[in-house]
Every structure is written in structure tokens, then in C-alpha cells.
């Protein structure tokens, strides 16, 4: 009975997992199929071809878009981690006038939906003459309230004696942040990095607003323009472009997730 129950549980879970993974596997397999086969539901192509990828690469500057996306997402992620943890450190561990107000303001930022600021931000970018620049893609994302609050919450738990000891050892605040707090905050830094990188990587709406030059376009933007604008010419080519978009995210996630689990298991904060 116990065995049967367990079997049923795993069967159910496997089925549920399949419903999530099937579309992805189907997409992966479809990119390797010739146009005549793309419509089929089977996962194994009768005939394997790389034509879809070749056509995709030939029809739009996907290589360039891949570089653009990598550059934009990496810059934003690094900035969110560096500036976010500096802000969070100050908010969590330094005493200064207006600290409570800054806290409240940071939380208030979370309450404002992004769509609301889209138009004002766009107007601003136009005024500043930053349309069709990397600045327009990167600058609005350098600070992130969620990241600051997550980091702050984590930093609050680090014992004061570590800060005191570091100050006695002769460290300044920046050094304390990057040589003491950062190594102890790997779990939260990993989470923030994953979310920031994925969020930035998958962003479509903002690039569509501020970038029209194909040379500056990010991957999801180019893909959208390409697929919706009919540039792809076939479903297979559209799917191939989607694969190119999704693979770096999967790789980044797999890499950081391992790091994340290790950090969770490995670091006790207490000395």
C-alpha cells in the first residue's frame, strides 16, 4: 500500500513536470526539424537540420543582439549588486539623519508599478537625447528597491562585533562591506543576481520603447521584432531565435543555483 501510494505520488509529479517541460523540449526539437515537420507533436525529429539557425543568423544581427543583451544584463546585475549592497549597508548598519525616511521611501518605490513610470521615464530619455543608446537601456535599472531591501534584511543579521572588529583592524566602511559582508552574504547576493540578470535579460517592453537601431537591440527585442514583424519567415526560425534567447538564462541559472545552494549550506553567519 505504501509502495503504491509512493508510486502514485511520483507518477503524478512526473506528469506535472512533463506538462512544464514538454513545450520546452518540443521547441528545442522543433528548431532542428525541417519546415515540413515543425507542426508535428513528436519530440524526435526524423531528419535533423541546422537550417533554422543558419537562416536566423543570416536574416537579422542575432550575434550582435546576443552581445548587447549580455553587456546590458551583466552591467545592470553588477551595478545592482554593488550599489544595492552599498545602500543596504548604510541603511542597515550606519546611523545617519533621515535613515528611517530612506527606508520608507525605498519601500514606497515598491508600491509604484513599473508601467506607471514608463511614460515619464521615456520622456526623460528623449529629452536627454539618449534614444538608441546603451545608456537608455542600462541607466534606469542601476538601482533596484527590491534588491536593496533584500540585502538590507540580510545585513541586519550580521553580528555587530564583526563590524567593530573590522573597524578595530583598520577597515573603512567600503572595505567592511566588500571583504566581510560580501563573502558572508553569498546566498542573498546569488538570489539578487539571478533575479536581476533574468529580469534584465528578458526585458522587452523598455528596449522596444527606447531603441530602434538594430545594432543596439537586445536579444528578446530583436526576437520580438523579428518574429512579430514577419522577418523570420517560418516558425522554425522563430523558435531557433527563442532557443538562443533562453539558453544563456538556463546556463546562468544552473550555475548560480549551485552556488546559491552551496552558500546556503556552507556559511553560518555566527563566528
Amino acid at each position: 500500500m505504501k509502495f503504491f501510494g509512493r508510486f502514485a505520488l511520483y507518477a503524478g509529479l512526473a506528469l506535472a513536470a512533463l506538462t512544464f517541460i514538454y513545450p520546452f523540449l518540443w521547441m528545442a526539437s522543433a528548431t532542428l526539424k525541417p519546415p515540413s515537420e515543425v507542426g508535428a507533436l513528436s519530440l524526435i525529429p526524423h531528419q535533423i537540420t541546422l537550417d533554422n539557425y543558419r537562416l536566423m543568423w543570416a536574416r537579422a544581427p542575432f550575434g550582435r543582439a546576443l552581445l548587447n543583451s549580455t553587456f546590458v544584463a551583466t552591467t545592470i546585475t553588477v551595478a545592482v549588486l554593488v550599489f544595492g549592497s552599498m545602500t543596504a549597508y548604510a541603511m542597515a548598519r550606519l546611523h545617519f539623519r533621515g535613515r528611517a525616511a530612506l527606508n520608507a521611501a525605498t519601500i514606497a518605490v515598491l508600491l509604484v508599478p513599473g508601467q506607471l513610470t514608463l511614460i515619464p521615464l521615456y520622456t526623460l530619455i528623449v529629452q536627454l537625447g539618449w534614444i538608441d543608446t546603451y545608456t537608455a537601456l542600462i541607466l534606469p535599472y542601476l538601482f533596484n528597491a527590491t534588491a536593496i531591501l533584500m540585502l538590507r534584511q540580510f545585513f541586519l543579521q550580521i553580528p555587530q562585533s564583526l563590524i567593530d572588529a573590522a573597524r578595530m583592524d583598520g577597515m573603512g566602511e567600503l572595505r567592511i562591506l566588500f571583504t566581510i559582508f560580501w563573502p558572508l552574504s553569498k546566498p542573498v547576493l546569488s538570489i539578487v543576481a539571478i533575479f536581476t540578470f533574468m529580469g534584465s535579460w528578458n526585458e522587452v517592453l523598455w528596449p522596444l520603447l527606447v531603441v530602434r537601431d538594430q545594432q543596439i537591440m537586445t536579444l528578446p527585442q530583436l526576437l520580438t521584432v523579428f518574429a512579430l514583424g514577419g522577418g523570420a519567415g517560418s516558425v522554425g526560425v522563430s523558435l531557433a531565435a527563442s532557443m538562443v534567447l533562453v539558453i544563456p538564462v538556463v546556463v546562468a541559472y544552473a550555475f548560480l543555483q549551485r552556488n546559491f545552494i552551496e552558500s546556503m549550506a556552507g556559511t553560518g553567519i555566527k563566528g
Binding site: A165, R167, M168, D169, G170, G271
Partner: protein, 364 residues
């Protein structure tokens, strides 16, 4: 090596005064213990010396140099923290050497000092471990080693033993004491444990509510506490207190309270305290069970509890409404509920006024 001087130090957190008009000179090479309950301001004073806390008013000098406006790294002091403050992601060696590396001390000199401190503290085999892999006592030693390698002018200890269990605490107390005597570095040691204070300190400062209650050698504080707070704080088991009044009896002064009448030392107190409310203090170890004790030098009580510790026994007894305790080498056959006569040696009696101040200035 250096002296430390506190010149009218005050500290306020917003409207709350934590330390008030603290004046003190710590001599070169001295081990000074700051002792007091929680909220007495002892840790705050230590953190002000370290530079971890700003001074609201007054000046702190180390080796004649005014360090009040300086950040911690420019004060040449090292501190040992209650929860050690070791960097969890660094090895013992890295923990010990970090402060030196940040001060650009040469590599060979760093190695020499780390080896010296590790040798002195028995840490040689632990140098490549992380703090998590160490026991509480070992972590404590690493924390001390980190302070030692700096070769600072002043050591600051902030309740360094309170996270250890009783046995280890006694052992580490002895080690800290002998280490300090060997290094002869000026040391300020904060604790709430009066046993640590008594055994370690060259001098003790008793603090309450941010004010100095008394400064002196441990034995002086024990024998001649200047007020009731110090009398109750220093010494284990704590001093017995009985509320009452001073009366005159045939020219001699006597302490009277319900069910108690004790002669006071002659000429010890001013006439003005007659009929004022006072508190009699007598240490448990000064009381003797003595059925033959004379009236006026004894108390009659009823035993409520006997704690036999082996070498000594603690007899808890009631004298009228007053609960008292005697610490005696042998408790005889006395059992709970029995009557007991306890001799009160006149020369060991303490007397405190309504404001808590000692009224027997000549006491012992």
C-alpha cells in the same frame, strides 16, 4: 605601553545619559576592571576608548595623546569582543594577520608575530582552521591572539568570557590574568561578573547608572564598600542587609530593627544619624553560629534552608521579617525549623544611610 586618562567623559544617546562625568586615570601596565550591571555604561565606556562610539563631551587620552576625535584604526588599541567577532570566512591565520596586513606590516614580521601569539596561546595546530571548526575556548584564544599580534598600547576586553561555560571561564580567566602580567600591556576589562573583577583587577571600578560608585583595589572594595550598591555587588554570596534605625543605649550606639539589636563600633558614626532610617550590612562569611554569643552581638533566627556545598554551608534563616544568610565552615546539626544564634562581629558590621552611603568611614 601607555596610560589612559578619562577627562569628564559623558555619553548621551538622544536624551538618555548613559555615562556621566567619568573621570579616571588608568596607569601604565595596569589591569583595570569596569564592573556593573547591564545598563551601567561599562561597555559604552570601553567602546568610547576603542573609538567605536563617539564621546558626547570630555576627552580621552592614551599615552598623553588626545584620541577623542580619532577613528579606531588611529588609536593603537585592540579589542576582544564578547562573541569574539572572528571573521567566519577566514582561517585563524587570516583572522590573526588581517589587522597587520591592513597596516602594511611586512610579511616576515606578520609571520613572526602570528607564530609568537599562536605559540603563547596554543593555537599552532589550529592556524588553518575556520572559526566554525573551533570550540568556544579556542575561538576566545584566537580573539585574544588577534589583539596581541597588533602589539597595541591598550587592550580592551568586552565581557570576553560570558559566552563560555563555567569551567572554561575559570580557566580562561587565569590565562588572561597571567598573559596580561607577562605582556604588561595596559588593559581595560569590562565584566558584569564580580568574581572576574575580584580575581583579575589591579583595580576595580564599580559602575551603576553611568556613574562611578567606587574605585579601588579588589580587597578594599570588599572590606570597605563606600555605599550600599558596592556592598551588595562585590562579594559572593552577597551581603545581608537589614533595614532599621540607630538608637542610643547608655551612651553606646546600637542598631535596632524588628527582632534585631546589634551594637555598633564605638565612635564610628556621626550623631546626626540617630533615629534616621539606616541599613545594616553584614557579609554571610562574617557571621558565626555561636549559641554562646552575647546579646547585642548576636541575632536570633529560625533556619529556613541549609545548602551544603561540601566545604562550606549556606544557612538561610529568618530574623523576624528579615531573611539572612550565613556562610559557615560547619553548620553543626542545625536543621530546617530550628532556632539558631548567630554572632555578629562588631568590627565587621557595615552601616548605610538612607542615601546608600556608608556611615562607618573607619570600617575595617
Amino acid at each position: 605601553m601607555a596610560s589612559v586618562s578619562f577627562d569628564r567623559i559623558s555619553k548621551k544617546f538622544d536624551a538618555v545619559t548613559v555615562v556621566e562625568e567619568f573621570n579616571l586615570e588608568v596607569a601604565d601596565g595596569e589591569l583595570l576592571v569596569l564592573v556593573g550591571g547591564s545598563g551601567s555604561g561599562k561597555s559604552t565606556i570601553l567602546r568610547m576608548v576603542a573609538g567605536l562610539e563617539d564621546v558626547t563631551s570630555g576627552k580621552i587620552r592614551i599615552d598623553q595623546r588626545d584620541v577623542t576625535p580619532l577613528p579606531p584604526r588611529e588609536r593603537d588599541v585592540a579589542m576582544v569582543f564578547q562573541d569574539y567577532g572572528l571573521y567566519p570566512h577566514m582561517t585563524v591565520r587570516e583572522n590573526l594577520s588581517l589587522g597587520l596586513r591592513l597596516r602594511n606590516v611586512g610579511r616576515q614580521e606578520i609571520e613572526r608575530r602570528v607564530a609568537w601569539a599562536a605559540g603563547m596561546l596554543g593555537l599552532e595546530k589550529l592556524l588553518d582552521r575556520r572559526p566554525k571548526q573551533l570550540s568556544g575556548g579556542q575561538r576566545q584564544r584566537v580573539a585574544m591572539g588577534r589583539a596581541m599580534v597588533r602589539e597595541p598600547l591598550v587592550f580592551l576586553f568586552d565581557e570576553p568570557l560570558s559566552n563560555l561555560d563555567a569551567g572554561l571561564r575559570a580557566q580562561m580567566r587565569i590565562e588572561i590574568g597571567s598573559l596580561q602580567r607577562r605582556l604588561k600591556t595596559t588593559t581595560i576589562y569590562v565584566t558584569h561578573d564580580q568574581v572576574e573583577a575580584m580575581t583579575l583587577g589591579d583595580r576595580i571600578v564599580v559602575l551603576a547608572d553611568g556613574r562611578i560608585q567606587q574605585v579601588g583595589r579588589p580587597i578594599d572594595l570588599y572590606r570597605a564598600p563606600s555605599n550600599r550598591f558596592v556592598a551588595g555587588f562585590i562579594g559572593t554570596p552577597p551581603m545581608n542587609f537589614v533595614e532599621g534605625r540607630v538608637a542610643s543605649d547608655d551612651g553606646a550606639q546600637v542598631f535596632t530593627a524588628e527582632a534585631a539589636r546589634v551594637r555598633l563600633p564605638e565612635g564610628g558614626i556621626a550623631a546626626g544619624v540617630l533615629a534616621e532610617p539606616v541599613t545594616l550590612g553584614i557579609r554571610p562569611e562574617d557571621l558565626r553560629v555561636d549559641p554562646a554569643a552575647a546579646q547585642g552581638e548576636s541575632l536570633l533566627g529560625r533556619v529556613v534552608l541549609v545548602e551544603r556545598l561540601g566545604g562550606t554551608s549556606h544557612i538561610h534563616f529568618d530574623v523576624g521579617p528579615h531573611r539572612m544568610m550565613a556562610s559557615v565552615a560547619r553548620d553543626g546539626m542545625g536543621g530546617v525549623g530550628e532556632s539558631i544564634t548567630v554572632r555578629v562581629p562588631v568590627d565587621r558590621v557595615h552601616l548605610f544611610g538612607a542615601d546608600g552611603r556608608s556611615l562607618l568611614q573607619s570600617s575595617q
